[in-house]
């Protein structure tokens, strides 16, 4: 106002009358404009300035959450995530002397030519190396090369390597599960990073918590039913057997007969999950759960059990298997060796196809179907493992007599190895089918009763006979323990017809007086001369079972000296 007054005082005489009010009005309007602008910035369009302001003192920090560990049944870690660094660059922004580049290549353990190629790769963002140990990253940062940055990331390590890889699977980018348990239990294992807003001071230190944007959720640990010692044992023996027999693949499952827990599950071929650069998907399959095969003679005990349940036969009933062939319609079933009259027990012991087929044909298809189905064939395992298949058991209505006869010895039906091992829990217990699980249980688990106790005991006795001299698998014997089991040697189906390639298997349990473990072994296409389950799979069973029982401290139930060195000739060749 003073300014206006002064102006008027000095210039009034010469000035037009409207000038002063005009100027006054203009100045007022400008002031009003300023006021309006500041009001606008304060109340309406305040986002930008507020953001600028808060960026001076406020920070949103990520609160990291790590992925849960996977443990074995004793709490030993099988998979652990640990923070690592990813070293990255914008190639065009890198300024480094040749000496610095050399030091960088040495620090990252990269050949200098590779490093140069990465830096020449163009103008895009390039990872120089991922999953670098924090100490190495600190060393790289200390080189002080412009344009070289690092980021935090997690990397998962699997101390068990190839021994455990099929069960655990692995994680991909961002530590997210891609295969196996890592995939199946992603929600349980995965952590969600949290966020918080803080106030920092001039030196970048956090001085106050303002708000918790999101609480972090740490990944939870997961205890598997796997026993690392047994897993290693299973893997080692399986690998040796597959190599010895020049086989294509193999699988081995150890179940706890009292809880149904999977104590070990080994597959060959395998891969190392810590270094997957050149692994073909073929090796990653958990064959024991994701592949099905025709079980062959390992299915016979279920046929016999169905007949015993139906009251059609007794263990001592005599079946005439002469002349070693049985013709049904246009097809003929063969026994590899003629046996003549066999008791039902001997049909299992000597694994006679004709005997099993005759017994099966005395049953109504529904009876046989319900026993097989009760033992878990054709139904999903519900192990929760990704890619698990349930095998195939066709409805009884569609069975023709020849199919019923071949199913009696395990053809025309398909199973996976874990399913087969689970089915044997009905003989290892008094007729209970234990539910299988990959997760640790705290005590015995009850399963649905499938067979009467007498039937289960009778078949258990037959299975024990099969590993004694005169049976198909004396090589399955274990010094100091009574064992029971059944061999299987099945022709493979290729393009709808059976070819001269085999799947050799053995499923059994021990100690017979109070079964603790069920072990199923499957060797796919042995081509080292031997292919009978009794000579290919049974020795694997024997060595794994013997060591496993000793490791678990199971008391012996047979004299140590009872074992006869299995003479090669004592073994009965089984049917195929």
């Amino acid at each position: 106002m003073t300014a206006v007054n002064v102006t008027r005082a000095v210039a009034a005489p010469k000035l037009p009358r409207l000038r002063a009010p005009l100027l006054f009005g203009m100045l007022l309007a400008l002031f009003a404009l300023l006021a309006a602008r500041s009001l606008y910035l304060q109340w309406i369009d305040n986002a930008f300035l507020q953001e600028q302001g808060s960026s001076r003192y406020s920070r949103d920090l990520e609160v990291p959450a790590h992925r849960g560990r996977i443990l074995d049944r004793f709490g030993d870690p099988l998979a652990i995530s640990t923070p690592v660094k990813a070293i990255w660059v914008w190639p065009e922004k890198v300024e480094a002397t040749p000496g610095q580049l050399q030091a960088l290549a040495a620090a990252l353990d990269l050949p200098p030519t590779t490093l140069a190629a990465k830096l020449d790769a163009g103008d895009d963002f390039v990872y120089l190396k991922r999953a670098v140990a924090p100490e190495v990253a600190a060393h790289v940062a200390a080189l002080g090369i412009k344009g070289v940055h690092d980021d935090d990331e997690y990397r998962r390590y699997y101390p068990g390597g190839e021994v455990m890889s099929h069960i655990l699977g692995f994680t991909g980018d961002g530590d997210v599960g891609q295969e196996g348990i890592e995939l199946a239990q992603q929600v349980w294992l995965g952590g969600t990073p949290g966020g918080r807003r803080v106030i920092i001071n001039r030196r970048g230190q956090v001085v106050e918590d303002v708000a918790n944007i999101r609480s972090p959720r740490e990944g939870r640990d997961l205890a598997l039913s796997i026993d690392s010692r047994l897993q290693y044992l299973a893997y080692r023996e399986l690998k040796a057997a597959v190599e010895l027999n020049k086989a294509k693949a193999g699988g081995l499952v150890i179940l706890d007969a009292r809880t149904g827990e999977i104590l070990a599950l080994a597959n060959w071929p395998s891969y190392n999950p810590n270094n997957r650069t050149r692994v073909v998907r073929e090796r990653m399959r958990n064959r024991a759960l994701t592949d099905i095969f025709e079980p062959g003679s390992t299915l016979k005990p279920f046929t016999i059990a169905a007949a015993l349940e139906a009251g059609k036969v007794q263990p001592s009933t005599v079946i005439d298997t002469a002349p070693g062939t049985l013709t049904i319609g246009k097809a003929t079933i063969h026994d590899a060796h003629r046996e003549g009259a066999l008791t039902v027990e001997q049909v299992v012991q000597k694994s006679s196809n004709v005997g099993a087929a005759k017994i099966a044909l005395s049953l109504p298809p529904e009876r046989m179907w319900s026993t097989l189905s009760g033992a878990g064939f054709g139904a999903p395992l519900k192990s929760g493992f990704p890619g698990e298949v349930s095998g195939r058991l066709r409805p009884a209505k569609s069975w023709r007599p020849i199919e019923q006869a071949t199913m009696a010895y395990g053809h025309g039906i398909s199973v996976n190895l874990v399913q087969l091992a689970r089915a044997y829990t009905v003989f290892a217990t008094d007729g209970e089918l234990k539910p299988v699980t990959l997760f640790k249980e705290s005590g015995p688990v009850a399963g649905p009763p499938v067979l009467r106790a007498e039937t289960a005991r009778a078949v258990r006795h037959m299975l024990e006979m099969a590993v004694l001299p005169g049976g198909t698998a004396p090589k399955a014997q274990v010094p100091g323990y009574r064992v029971a089991g059944k061999t299987g040697t099945a022709h493979k189906l290729e393009g709808g017809s059976y070819v001269k390639k085999f799947v050799s298997s053995f499923v059994g349990f021990a100690p017979v007086s109070s079964p603790r473990l069920v072990i199923a072994v499957m060797i796919d296409e042995p081509s080292g001369g031997q292919y009978y389950g009794g000579s290919v799979a049974a020795p694997v069973f024997s060595s794994v079972m013997g060591t496993a029982l000793r490791l678990l401290g199971v008391p012996i139930d047979a004299p140590m000296s009872s074992i006869l060195p299995p003479a090669e000739a004592a073994e009965v060749e089984e049917e195929t």
Binding site: D76, P77, L78, V206, D209, Y232, M560, S561
Partner: protein, 89 residues
Amino acid sequence: MVKLNLVLLAALVACALSLVTSRHQARKLFVELEREQTLARAYDVEYGQLQLEQSTWAMPARIENIAREQLKMQLPGPGRIQVVDGSSR
């Protein structure tokens, strides 16, 4: 009246000063808390790495190898095992 006002003024100043000090204290403690939490996280990471190292050293494959190759250990055959019957005692 004046006396009361003076007392109140003194009280006000005292309160103001104590507010400043406690605020300062809070900040200092908070910084310390932050530092300890960072340390705790670092120890957590180190624990994970040590566990990893331990389980790598303790892999059955490695132990078996050392037992067999370096220590020349082997499993006794059935003929060399004597079973002590504990139940008859």
